[in-house]
């Protein structure tokens, strides 16, 4: 965690300009406080991280579902939800995401700021307590998770995994990752494997849970009209970890992408859909912590990140082949993904145009306006993202995942300094790895009465 380390009760402040972000280490958890008056709510975001791995991936997904389904004091979903409603409709949800080769459980809670309520009820302290209970005092039956809850949440998780197939864009994306990273942990789906869900016992899940709260890296963000001192006091009061909690630092992922591509993998699958889904995966060999990360941001912006980008202009506006044609990138794995919905018959044409746009960038065919617009848009994007409490916490959490200590100002300065040559250099590193195409057979959606 950079120069602020993991020692207890040490506090550091950075990025005082745009956001007032303070960090405090308490009981082996990092508490990030952001004091701001711009919201009508206070947000809490807990991030619990471990490297994604075959052994635990499904268990961890199930754990996220189970944790949001009750606590010791409110041992059913209904009771927990009633308690939240009484806190002026506080929201609570647990969610999973993959950040590079990490599987992160995010538990988010948002409560109304009591000053906007007619009868000023003290909701903040209660909210703090409830959140700590969700993480640290789950509903037990004997020494394990309540069986009834585990059973219900298994069903919900399986349905969640199955539903990926129903959303063809998500399905094609999942298939691309499975093919492209067939020997790397990044291939794993963040919700785990559907056929492993049933075999997880409450005992096994509970043992894993104990490992998680003992060893995982845990960060808590509190954002709102708060005072850091008060929050730190509340954390000390409510978040009581066991004494043997010690973050397992051997777990930090530092997976440099070294894989060289000799031949592009091309995978076709056919389904009864109206529109073909074209997904292409590129390796960039650059991640968040690297110096050329900013150039990669600009590369992606010019390539397909915006509505002035080469993909949108050529695939959609010039050729009318698609409604969407865009690229996005994953900061910690260092990958660029292109996606477009096209007529099945236009596959060759679309792939050719997309490849040409990449070639153009390698040759330095980037206009001044493409270059300047992209930088302006990236700047705009990051400022807009941090207007939202969750967006802000995500931007700050990048540093935790990457082991860096970059302020938002430094980040924006980094984008500003990128030159066209830097972008061309990145474009030359970016290499197409896999193309996945979900072909349409075209009779989807027959109606009958």
């Amino acid at each position: 965690m950079g120069k602020l380390g993991c020692r207890h009760n040490e506090r550091g402040t950075y990025s005082m300009g745009i956001v007032n972000h303070k960090k405090t280490n308490l009981h082996g958890m990092t508490v990030h406080t952001i004091e701001t008056k711009k919201y009508k709510t206070t947000s809490f975001i807990l991030q619990v991280k471990e490297p994604i791995n075959e052994k635990n991936v499904t268990k961890r997904a199930l754990l996220a579902y189970v944790l949001q389904s009750g606590t010791k004091d409110f041992p059913s979903s209904k009771e927990l939800r009633s308690a939240l409603d009484d806190l002026y409709g506080a929201t609570l949800n647990a969610d999973l995401s993959k950040k590079g080769e990490n599987q992160v459980i995010s538990i988010r809670m948002e409560v109304a700021n009591e000053k906007f309520l007619s009868n000023s009820e003290p909701v903040l302290d209660k909210a703090f307590h409830l959140l700590s209970q969700v993480l640290l005092a789950p509903p037990l039956e004997g020494d394990v998770f309540k069986e009834g809850i585990v059973k219900k949440e298994k069903r919900s998780l399986k349905q969640q995994i199955e539903s990926i197939y129903d959303d063809k864009m998500r399905y094609a994306n999942k298939r691309l990752l499975e093919e492209m990273y067939d020997t790397e942990p990044y291939r794993l789906n963040v919700y785990g494997n559907g056929d492993e869900v049933d075999s997880i016992s409450s005992k096994e899940l509970f043992d894993y849970y104990q490992e998680v709260i003992r060893n995982d890296k845990i960060d808590l963000y509190v954002i709102g009209d708060i005072s850091t001192d008060e929050m730190v006091e509340k954390v000390s009061k409510h978040f009581r970890f066991s004494k043997d909690r010690k973050e397992d630092e051997t777990k930090a992922v530092n997976a440099r992408d070294e894989k060289r591509i000799s031949e592009v993998k091309e995978i076709f699958e056919e389904q009864d859909v109206q529109q073909g889904k074209l997904h292409m995966g590129y390796r960039t060999y650059t991640t968040y912590a690297d110096d050329d990360y900013f150039a990669l941001q600009v590369f992606n912006g010019i390539f397909g990140g915006f509505s002035h980008s080469k993909l949108f202009m050529n695939v959609r506006e010039k050729e009318s082949l698609a409604y969407y044609a865009a690229s996005r990138f994953e900061s910690h794995k260092g990958a660029v993904f292109v996606m477009s919905g096209i007529e099945t018959a236009n596959y060759e044409k679309a792939v050719k145009i997309i490849k040409e746009q990449h070639e153009e960038m390698k040759k330095g065919n980037i206009t001044d306006s493409e270059f300047e617009q992209t930088k302006a848009m990236i700047n705009n994007q990051v400022l807009e993202t941090i207007d939202h409490p969750i967006g802000l916490s995500e931007v700050l959490y990048h540093n935790v995942v990457a082991g860096t200590d970059r302020s938002i100002e430094e980040w924006m300065e980094g984008i500003k300094r990128v030159t066209k040559d830097d972008v061309v250099a990145v474009a030359k590193k970016v290499t197409l790895d896999t193309i996945f195409f979900l072909k349409g057979a075209g009779t989807n959606g027959n109606e009958n009465v």
Binding site: T41, K78, R81, S156, S320, G341, A376, V449
Partner: protein
Amino acid sequence: MGMKTFDQLDETLHYEELPNGLKVYVLEKKGFNKTYATFTTHYGSVDNHFKPLGKDENVKVPDGIAHFLEHKLFEKEHGDVFQDFSKQGASANAFTTFNRTAYLFSTTGDVKKNLTTLIDFVQEPYFTEKTVEKEKGIIGQEIRMYDDNPDWRVYFGLIENMYHHHPVKIDIAGTEKSIAKITKDDLYECYETFYHPSNMILFIVGPIDAKEILNFVKDNQSQKSFKEKEHIERFFDEEPQTVAKSKKVIEMTVQTPKCYMGYKEATPNRQGKELMKHELSVNLLLEMMFGKSSPNYETLYEEGLIDQTFSFDYTEENGFGFSMLGGDTRSPDGFVERISGMVEAFKQQSIDEGSFNRARKKKIGAFLRSLNSPEFIANQFTRYAFNEMDLFDVIPVFESLTVPDVEEVLQNHFKKEAMTVCQVQKKKS
């Protein structure tokens, strides 16, 4: 220039109706980086039968034309307005609903420059045969994308079931066939009729000086001339209170079936406070019956009839209104049987004051949370204003609701004969 303060919410709204009829609202949001502006016309997919401005004959226009117009307004003689925004560090977008078309941008940079671009591009149409033809391929792919989306199909299928004649049952984007007929002259005719400033609202929210922005807009508008404002005549066929179809099944390549149920509102002709009260009452009742803290939710979840995709909502606009409940389910028929049984059972019991208060607290909290979002404020304020409501009345109206209000809605809205079902089932191979 008017000003309204909402002390409890710590918000001040500035507004003015300009001589050409345009209504402008400005909300200062200190501490935010972003300014967000929407320029919205009270015109959407349902407005397909009307009397064009300055003409005597009514016309019926092709399905999907409001949405088509939305796409085409971005194209100008000099190129694409999207590019102008992005050169100015703003991201632009637009969307079309049943009765609104909104153009918007957000920026952390030069607000005035982008505001000028927004107002001017919406007020200066440029349609040609060639650009209209080009768009047909793009929108065709947009339609296909939605055709493959089971959530959209089940949602829209439900609305189709409810209505015999009302054009709310027509897909907002139309079909590939209907958009093939659209010409540039059709677009101009719709534009002239519905994009008059008196039919539009401009809403700007962000870290700005409200008076300065209002004056800036006034200046812009005073330099342009518009036709005299006229009342717009729209025509709708008489809609029966019954549903057109009580059940529909759509087969798609999915693994988990989907089921939506809906109740059609019998008298969707409220406006103003009456509409707000009704809308909030139905939503509060839905929360009490099926919210996550309700016994019904627990039962449905335990029986595996719902999962986390389950949601519900009530919406009403002038001429149509419906509640819907649904999501992914293992047993679409079991879902319908259980939910309709629960609604009937609810009618038999008296409403519990405790759960009423809890649901209301939850709704008020959710509303406060929404006010963190400039997008929500601008879009919802506009929607409310077109229905003669004021977004900032939501909390007082919630606070004024009583158990009898909710009981009335329970008996009158959730009628068996007003119910319909749409399911997406796994395609048999």
